[in-house]
């Protein structure tokens, strides 16, 4: 029924077409731009933090005027630093990378790459976006409530987050944080259910699971583990709210003593929250990184002009990673007071993840072998993602290992490690994706020259910052410190903070180049051809930019896997998925 009419009728009004649109492409772009906006916010927060770490206690009069509470008379207060740190983590993890990769690319690409006209539930999809907008506003707005934004870390460990007198940010900021997270989880659930249903039920004829591009595979697996892991966190967040405002003690033991007062709570324990948080928190990092790996793997064949190495194995490895990711959350808690026997189980399980991850890494590098490498901007960022995945992944061997984690837990080693992985790999893949699919979105190309400059500034700066943090962590530098001037054993690292901060400012500044390139190219970019990269995946078989309903009267039919490049006996070095076997041999 609806299919044909949807293909033909575009919504008539501006509001229905661009604001309250049910078109997956518009929603995807809305998500992407929201993520970019939040990234600037999250990056701005960290720029302030790096100013404090580079020049501790310096007076910035102009900042004092912007943040009259947090930076009274221009000097940053510790509570403001903690709020910045907490909100930087929360925003970047949930509102930038999740939003950009799953919300942005997921929405934009899933129907296009599996040959559907839209998501299974377009209205729900729209609702998912319009739930995330208030979530963003609540998170950002929490800086202006009494006590400032939440400051107990993105992990929100109680009692710090549960007792309202424990910290200024634990007054209303923490409540708004929980509210924002609940909205986020609601939005994620709507989106995730939609993605999984769409990928199961809406694939076009011939698009078997094993013919899906890895982007779709990773979106599918990431949505699935997100859907399985977020609900328990929602339960825990509800209970945390009750602990804060209802007088319950789910996460609060007896004998708590705050501000010369004995609290009446009894029976709970903070360990319980840690377990539930990381039960989501660990799968969440795979929710973030898997789509990034998918995009990276997907773009490689386009710019090497040869098929991907080890597609089938990669899919199996993704399944293995997803399954393992659900049972290793305890490696965030080795020294938390958790049972040491459980710790041993978690250590062995965690290190097992290195095996499928290595296979994926090897497949990436091996995919280059024998190809004809070309380096437009997306490919540069793909290489960047591979480098970060390799270097960052190795850090996991130290941290997943319970014994070395005794020394490295909660030091900058951890900060360096997870930034390379869920910050670096994802950022690189998102940039690669934006440069690559920009023509599909807007019918124009982004500037190559600005793109190249953007890469050559972003990649080395990012690498330098987070590599340095690994070494700072080895030196025993604890994370979440407002200043490092109180400890003698950290004095010799004082200079490195300045270097890291300078690189961070460079990194932050370079992103404005990207923003300029993006928004300029929307209007002024060179017009793109229908298939500008000469790629084989299904999305390029629709006109560029794709119209409402994606394809004309007939949905495309798929005859082969998505990586048929340089097929012997075919005309040209790219054989699109829609090419029947009678025209070019099917090789996979």
């Amino acid at each position: 029924m609806g299919e044909m009419s949807r293909a033909v009728h575009e919504p008539p009004t501006f509001l229905r077409r661009y604001v309250f649109s049910t078109d997956h492409k518009v929603i995807g772009i809305q998500y992407l731009i929201t993520a970019m906006f939040m990234a600037i916010a999250g990056g701005g927060l960290v720029a302030l933090m790096r100013m404090q770490l580079a020049w501790p206690g310096t007076k910035w009069a102009w900042l004092g005027r912007i943040f009259p509470d947090g930076m009274e008379s221009g000097v940053m207060k510790p509570e403001f630093y903690l709020s910045l740190m907490t909100m930087h983590g929360t925003i970047m993890v949930f509102f930038v990378v999740s939003l950009g990769l799953l919300g942005g690319f997921g929405n934009f690409l899933i129907p296009l790459q599996i040959g559907a006209r839209d998501m299974a539930f377009p209205v729900l999809n729209m609702l998912s976006y319009w739930t995330i907008v208030p979530a963003c506003l609540v998170m950002l707005g929490s800086f202006w409530v009494e006590g400032g934004a939440a400051a107990a870390g993105w992990t929100a460990y109680p009692p710090l987050s549960a007792v309202r007198t424990a910290l200024p940010g634990s007054q209303w900021g923490q409540t708004l944080w929980i509210l924002g997270m609940a909205l986020f989880i609601a939005s994620f659930t709507m989106g995730g259910l939609n993605y999984v249903t769409t990928i199961f039920d809406q694939r076009t004829k011939g698009m078997s699971m094993m013919r899906m591009p890895l982007t779709i595979w990773t979106m599918f697996i990431a949505s699935a583990i997100g859907l399985l892991a977020f609900p328990p966190l929602l339960a825990a967040a509800v209970l945390l709210l009750f602990d804060r405002h209802g007088g319950t003690s789910f996460f609060l033991p007896s004998g708590l003593y705050f501000g010369n007062q004995l609290l009446p709570n009894s029976g709970g324990t903070p360990l319980l929250w840690q377990h539930l948080f990381w039960f989501l928190g660990h799968p969440e990092v795979y929710v973030l990184i898997l789509p990034a790996l998918g995009i990276t793997l997907d773009l490689l064949p386009v710019f090497t002009r040869k098929p991907l190495f080890g597609y089938r194995l990669t899919v199996y490895c993704l399944y293995a990673i997803a399954a393992l990711s659900m049972i290793v959350w305890g490696h965030h808690m080795y020294v938390s007071g958790m049972s040491p026997y459980v710790g041993e189980f978690f250590a062995i399980g965690t290190l097992a993840i290195t095996v499928p991850s290595t296979i994926i890494g090897v497949n990436m590098i091996a995919s280059l072998w024998g190809g004809t490498l070309r380096f437009p901007t997306p490919m540069l960022f793909v290489i960047g993602a591979i480098v970060f995945f390799g270097t960052g992944g190795f850090g996991g061997i130290f941290l997943g290992n319970a014994t070395s984690d005794i020394q490295l837990h909660d030091t900058y080693f951890v900060v360096g490690h997870f930034h390379l992985m869920i910050g670096g790999v994802t950022l690189m893949a998102m940039f690669a994706g934006v440069y690559y699919w920009f023509p599909k979105m807007f019918g124009r190309m982004m500037s190559e020259r600005l793109g190249k400059v953007h890469f050559w500034l972003t990649f080395p700066a990012f690498y330098a910052i987070f590599l340095a943090m690994h070494y700072q962590g080895l030196a025993g530098m604890p994370r979440r410190y407002y200043a490092f001037d109180k400890y003698e054993y950290l004095q010799w690292l004082q200079g490195s903070h300045l270097h890291v901060s300078l690189a961070a400012f460079l990194l932050f500044g370079a992103q404005f180049l990207f923003l300029y390139n993006f928004f300029r190219s929307v209007f002024r970019g060179r017009k793109a051809a229908d298939n500008p990269w000469n790629a084989a995946t299904l999305e390029w078989s629709s006109p560029t930019p794709a119209p409402h309903g994606n394809w004309g009267e007939h949905l495309p039919e798929v005859h082969r896997w998505p990586y048929d490049y340089s097929v012997p006996g075919a005309t040209g070095d790219c054989t699109p998925q829609t090419t029947p076997a009678s025209v070019a041999p099917v090789t996979f």
């Binding site: 004809t372 290489i383 070395s404 005794i406």
Partner: protein, 271 residues
């Protein structure tokens, strides 16, 4: 035109990636960890050193290979190799998988978990010095059990400004206890058995030089032990976000010789 650009970009990428690998290794060869001052710390250091060397080599190899591929195949105008057979794919993956399993799982099973088990799953020696550390925002309350080796009873209900631990004056076992703030004194080469508690939020007892880290959790009394084997003053840091003063919640571990320690204990009791 396109080919020559590719060659230029590919070569620059390769060179940058090689330089990065050299940088990683050069930095990794420097000494970063604070000087070691505990017995079990040697095991942790061995674990970290093993991972450092294994990972360092892998990073070097990986970056070299990636750089070489970029260098080599950016100079190629025709595909020289198309689709890998399933066997080839499986063989390469198997090599990588086995290597990684050997390094990661092998490392943790042979070097890691034995140390872990010793730290967390063995009783302290009988002559261990029992010390209670009670964390609060933002200080370390230290209590020694005294000659009887038994800590006096405490109750949160008895906490006042003068009695920060809520020590029960009725309990005779508490009469010889010694209470101190932010400074822990211990004897060299004698095990210290810490009883870690918290009054308010989570903190973490982190002695960088002694490779000791343990969160203190309100509602739980967590015991662990270690043997300081160098005299000197070592810094104690809080490694779990605990509030505004997290960054300045500094304590000290002063490791004394036996004579010095006994002398200090005596003085403290008399004073």
């Amino acid at each position: 035109m396109e080919a020559s650009t590719a060659r230029r970009v590919g070569s620059s990428l390769a060179i940058v990636i090689w330089l990065l690998a050299l940088g990683v290794v050069a930095l990794g060869l420097r000494r970063w960890m604070p000087p070691l001052a505990s017995e079990h710390g040697a095991g942790i250091d061995a674990m970290i050193r093993f991972s450092m060397s294994a990972v360092g080599s892998l990073i070097l190899i990986g970056h070299c290979v990636l750089g070489y591929f970029l260098w080599r195949f950016s100079r190629q105008d025709k595909i020289s190799f198309r689709l890998a057979g399933h066997h080839l794919e499986r063989r390469w993956s198997l090599v990588a998988a086995l290597l990684m399993a050997a390094i990661a799982e092998g490392g943790v099973l042979t070097l890691g978990l034995p140390v872990w088990a010793k730290v967390y799953d063995t009783e302290a020696p009988s002559n261990a010095l029992p010390i209670e550390v009670t964390t609060e925002q933002f200080a370390w309350n230290v209590r020694y059990a005294g000659p009887d080796g038994v800590f006096g009873r405490t109750s949160p209900k008895l906490i006042t400004l003068d009695n920060p631990l809520g020590v029960d004056a009725q309990d005779p076992a508490g009469k010889d206890d010694v209470i101190d703030l932010n400074v822990i004194r211990a004897e060299v080469n004698r095990a210290v058995k810490i009883r870690l508690r918290s009054k308010d939020v989570l903190h973490s007892f982190f002695l960088p030089n002694l490779r000791v880290k343990q969160d203190s959790v309100p509602g739980m009394t967590i015991e662990f032990w270690f043997v300081p084997n160098k005299t000197g003053t070592f810094e104690l840091a809080c490694a779990e976000l605990c509030g505004l003063g997290h960054y300045e919640m500094r304590g000290l571990l002063v490791v004394l010789t036996t004579e010095e320690f006994q002398k200090w204990l005596q003085e403290k009791k008399n004073g």
